[in-house]
């Protein structure tokens, strides 16, 4: 994928995630200056704020599913902050967006350190998600609990 195409795909993933968050009744914003956060999510009623990092990839076909690969800088993954970062992985399939994979930074760090999820290349963690027969796996770990896990953001009716 060319660099220019990556920009378009990345922005499309961000917009798809923002659309879902808006539908769920949360407010969203782009930081004016890109310092690593992709989306700010705000619950208007309480002022609660979440920092969301959207990672987008195109799905590669498997016999009975698809796979997608993502890179996460280790520096970002290992660094606790308040409010902490939540990763949303957006996978574009052949006919539309696949279910999002939502996992907070601390949990993903735990998966990497204690369960060896992913592989490290040039100070980045490379994650490869694969779905087959209704399962979602990453380095042989079951990631199904993270699929479309919007539990942090239950739907708000205004």
């Amino acid at each position: 994928m060319s660099g220019k195409q990556s920009l378009y795909v990345g922005r499309a993933g961000q917009m798809a995630v923002m659309a879902e968050l808006l539908w769920r009744g949360l407010n969203v914003a782009f930081p004016e200056v890109d310092i690593g956060d992709d989306v700010f999510v705000v619950k208007d009623e309480t002022g609660e704020l979440w920092r969301v990092q959207v990672k987008t990839a195109s799905a590669g076909p498997l016999s009975d599913g698809y796979s997608a690969q993502f890179n996460i800088p280790l520096n970002q993954l290992e660094n606790p902050r308040t409010p902490d970062l939540i990763y949303v992985f957006a996978i574009r399939g052949s006919s539309g967006w696949e279910p999002f994979v939502i996992i907070d930074r601390e949990t993903l760090w735990q998966e990497y350190v204690t369960h060896g999820v992913g592989s490290v290349s040039q100070r980045s963690l490379v994650l490869r998600f694969s779905t087959q027969a209704g399962r979602l796996r990453c380095s042989d770990r079951d990631f199904l609990p993270y699929r479309n896990d919007w539990s942090k953001w239950p739907v708000i009716r205004h």
């Binding site: 290992e78 902490d84 601390e106 990497y112 350190v113 204690t114």
Partner: protein, 95 residues
């Protein structure tokens, strides 16, 4: 040894158990869970470790682990590290 990761911010610092420590506590103390999962110490100015007075280090470890001083010592004490550069910010003398 208990390891606490520190993330410096312009408005304070976030402290969180290293995943290896979390796994250690889960295996050592059945039923233990990481609550609170992090502690944020607020500051009106960019974070400086000089702001941490001696008892505060142990107090943060106790908050994160819910262990008492004796239990912490049995585990070899504690250290605070900055994951971004693997720098050891503080190490207890119990180790």
């Amino acid at each position: 040894m208990i390891e606490v990761a520190v993330g410096k911010q312009s408005n304070g610092a976030t402290f969180q158990l290293h995943p290896k420590t979390r796994a250690l506590l889960e295996s050592r103390f059945p039923g233990w869970s990481p609550v609170p999962s992090s502690v944020f110490v607020s500051s009106s100015r960019p974070w400086d470790y000089e702001r941490m007075q001696d008892p505060m280090w142990a107090q943060i470890v106790m908050l994160l682990t819910r262990l008492d001083e004796e239990q912490i010592e049995e585990l070899g004490g504690f250290k605070f590290t900055s994951p971004s550069d693997d720098h050891v910010v503080y190490e207890s003398h119990a180790a």
